[in-house]
Symmetry: C2
Subunit: 339 residues, 2 copies
């Protein structure tokens, strides 16, 4: 089953989307919004699955699905908790600034509480008021949960994953050092994120979803050229069950909580930092990693952070080359954007 | 105007409360929930104000208002951004662990992104699974905003304050050092917070609201004994306009964003750390500060963090001794609680 929120009001209008992303059908009779469906998932999920079957059979009224008309699946959410499950990414970033990575990072997930009140639609430009902030993309996988009780085990937590999607966790790299030095984590350095047009249930992913991990190539293009082709199922130190359990150690998580994987990052086959795609590697899912590898290899970063006019595209395909989640496709602009 | 959300479903049922907190009247014809009212504040605020006038005149059906039936004004919110406006608190906590406080903390607000998906009602016990986590209260002031555009000035931000309330920002002190050392801010160290039963508009506070600050004595009792009587209008380095502007530097804030003041903390009249109430001081709004002052004065902390069975009460009164926001009154318990 695939779900999307067409732009409408603050929370969008829930539709069921066909497997090929060509068509959708209104799900308003089951739940007006995705949040409302998640609030009552036990009742709504089977009803939405039935509607999805009917859509695939052509048995219900349908309309053409246009990704540009979709908001993020949850245009605003009650929680966005972003992990750093690809520890390779963390290690590289630290290496570049000469900071040792504690051994515990391999066993105890890093996670930050992100802003969730105002996500960007997947095709809406990123408004960058100041290029000096060092705007970066971060291509990630995310899951949307049902209600999760405090103290849940990682194994049981996997059963609370309602939906899977992609995310561009926009970061302002040059604001990070000052903000982290203050000790309270990210705030201004993490502006609004954008999620893929479509969120899908784990069961509909078949073999692409195994043991709490998505197994696809995460395609990231910068200005139409391949930047990243990392494998989401490789080098993911913590599966989503572990990330959810970490988040729920000291409190319940409400339905509609979004948990992110952190920037997807693969080591090179030889064990070192990954190579650029042009050199036969799998590339990178953020510019910070490009710059880190440049720093390690050449002594200084050469690739600048995002500038106004540049564009980022993030998507994943199934075994038959069909887009699974639709594409996040965002241009960076210097003026405020009306959605 | 005073508003509350009676416990009902995930988001409560919006009621208008009388100034003396004795009565309330259903506001469902205007907006079913406080979030719905905030989503459409321009339309709803005047209608709710009219209903409030009618309630005071006895011109509408009313019911007895019981604080124990109230949830937090927003039982779940899209954003909870907690500042540290009482820099005295930050300085004391740092002093105790031998860390210098950067001079910039007096001009650049500290703020962390808190979990907002699952607040506790103001009279619901705090479930503490492990006393070794070092559970502490933090008595604070908070404001609930309307939509705030990115890049707003501190002065303009004051006009986006819809409501004012109190909060107990529960903290797990013994989890903080490990979590802050990881560099991504608080997560597990900040379980669910609880807000006062009633939220009030700034205009209804009269002279108790001036220049973006609340001017009351913040009463904090521990096990029925006075712990804190700090003045919220004193030693607040950043007003709420400045805190909101800080939060909105790189992104919009959605209606229903809650911004906290951080633990209220006054210096002693002599300029040093505040004295306990028993010694003629204004006391403390959290146990960490009690322990810090004990450490500074006696070389070691004597007061333990909260244990199961202890209770915390937080409230404020107007010039006539009437409770303004109702009371947060929470017991600490060792077993999960059903709301």
């Amino acid at each position: 089953m695939k779900l999307a929120s067409l732009k409408s009001g603050r929370d969008g209008r829930l539709v069921v989307v066909s497997g090929d992303l060509h068509f959708c059908t209104d799900a308003g009779l089951i739940a007006p919004t995705l949040q409302a469906a998640l609030d009552d998932w036990t009742r709504c999920a089977p009803a939405l699955a039935n509607l999805s079957d009917a859509l695939e059979r052509g048995a219900v009224p349908m309309e053409r699905f246009h990704e540009r008309e979709a908001h993020s699946p949850l245009p605003r959410a009650y929680q966005w908790a972003d992990g750093s499950a690809y520890v390779n990414h963390v290690q590289l970033v630290r290496q570049a600034r000469g900071a040792e990575m504690p051994e515990s990072f391999w066993t105890d997930p890093l996670m930050y509480q992100g802003g969730s009140d105002d996500f960007l639609p997947p095709r809406t430009p990123i408004y960058l008021a100041d290029e000096a902030w060092g705007c970066d993309l971060e291509a990630e996988v995310a899951v949307i949960t049902t209600d999760v009780p405090q103290g849940i085990t990682p194994e049981a937590a996997r059963n609370h994953i309602a939906l899977v999607c992609l995310v561009n966790d926009v970061s302002l790299r040059n604001l990070i050092p000052h903000e982290l030095a203050k000790g309270f984590g990210f705030f201004q350095a993490k502006p609004a994120s954008a999620f893929s047009p479509v969120a899908v249930t784990p069961d509909s992913l078949g073999p692409l979803w195994q043991e709490g991990k998505l197994h696809v190539t995460l395609n990231v293009d910068l200005d139409g050229l391949p930047l990243g082709r990392a494998h989401t199922g490789v080098d993911m130190t913590f599966d989503f069950g572990q990330l959810i359990a970490h988040a729920a150690k000291t409190r319940n998580l409400s339905a509609g909580t979004i948990v992110g994987s952190g920037t997807v990052s693969n080591r090179d086959a030889g064990g070192g930092p990954g190579k650029p795609i042009a050199e036969g590697g799998l590339g990178y899912s953020c510019l910070a990693e490009v710059r880190v590898v440049e720093t390690i290899l050449h002594g200084a970063a050469q690739t600048p952070f995002l500038r106004c006019g540049q564009s980022v595209r993030i998507w994943a395909e199934d075994g038959r080359g069909r887009s699974i989640f639709g594409a996040i496709d965002q241009k960076v602009v210097g003026k405020p954007v009306t959605i």
